[in-house]
Amino acid sequence: MVTKLDALANLLRKYSLWPMPFATACCGIELMATASSRYDIARFGAEAMRFSPRQCDVMIVAGRVVMKMVPVMQRIWLQMPEPKWCISMGACASSGGVFDTYCTVQGIDRFIPVDVYIPGCPPRPEQLIRAILDLQEKVQKTGTIDAREFASRTAYEGPTALARELSPEEAIVAPGDYRTATRLRSLPVVN
């Protein structure tokens, strides 16, 4: 139940979301464009980018995240004070994108909770602004003054294991047949 005090806190919070820009790739360029004069995220109260997680409310993960960056990302997320939210910006952060490789994590939501996903490669600044607006709506509807709405979310909220990791015998090994210059045609079915 959202009381009047909660509603007041939500109103104040949603118009001053301070982003933590976790920009690792080209989505970060669009994130910068969103903050600058043409798109001007300041119109929605989210212009105060801080590079210290201690001062931030929303982490924007913009770009692909590789295995080495996952512990860094989790640490930054844990360092942010409550209440906090996370935006997964772009195809790579949300699902790994085209980087279905040995080193790239297939979506950050497998390791940290995500509130808003933005599709696109990279998304346009308007899409990021839309995500901020969606997040503002979420804050207004679900937020509480002491951030107690998070306490019940103890379960893993990420995707179910979509593509099971293949055993070495059936895994796709590249490249296939050198003599005909083709990939192996009999690819295993992924559940």
Binding site: L78, Y102, F111, Y178
Partner: protein, 167 residues
């Protein structure tokens, strides 16, 4: 190629040559490479003027047509006086591919040899600090080997999960 005369005088029979367009190559097979390659590169550097190691990379020739050895380390050398280039290919084989390090000749080989070790598992004896350079240190596989699956063995999902309540 004046350098070929020098090499022939000192290492006759230890290497073969080939060419692709204007790429001149000197190849040393896996049998001879561990003993010959360092002296050959030293000779190229000190007597033939190839004073710059422009590139050092690896190749996995698994299932490659007509390949006899599996791993290859390519040394791209440049003569900074004449602009001449030569590519020296040294081969190595399973189970323990190993080649001598050339960090004693070119300091710049340090990180490049670490990268070849990281991606292909070719060990360089005499390297001052042979650790992984790109992949995490707890990683055990060598991802650019041709028998390594594209999606890995599940290493990329092997991290703790932070739930909303505990964060």
């Amino acid at each position: 190629m004046p350098y070929l005369d020098t090499l022939n005088a000192k290492f006759a029979g230890a290497f073969t040559t080939s060419a692709f367009r204007d790429n001149q190559r000197v190849l040393v097979n896996a049998e001879r490479a561990p003993t010959v390659i360092f002296a050959l590169l030293k000779c190229l550097k000190e007597e033939c003027g190839f004073d710059m190691l422009a590139e050092l990379g690896g190749i996995d020739y698994l299932n490659y047509p007509d390949a006899t050895d599996r791993y290859c380390v390519v040394y791209g050398l440049t003569n900074t006086t004449t602009g001449e280039r030569v590519f020296v290919k040294a081969f190595a084989n399973d189970p323990e591919p190993e080649l001598p390090s050339v960090t004693a000749l070119w300091k710049g080989a340090d990180w490049m040899e670490r990268e070849v070790y990281d991606m292909y598992g070719v060990r360089f004896t005499g390297h001052p600090d042979l650790r992984r350079i790109l992949m995490p240190s707890e990683y055990t596989a060598f991802p650019l080997r041709k028998d390594y699956p594209l999606r890995g063995y599940g290493e990329r999902h092997n991290f703790p999960i932070v739930t909303r309540a505990e964060s």
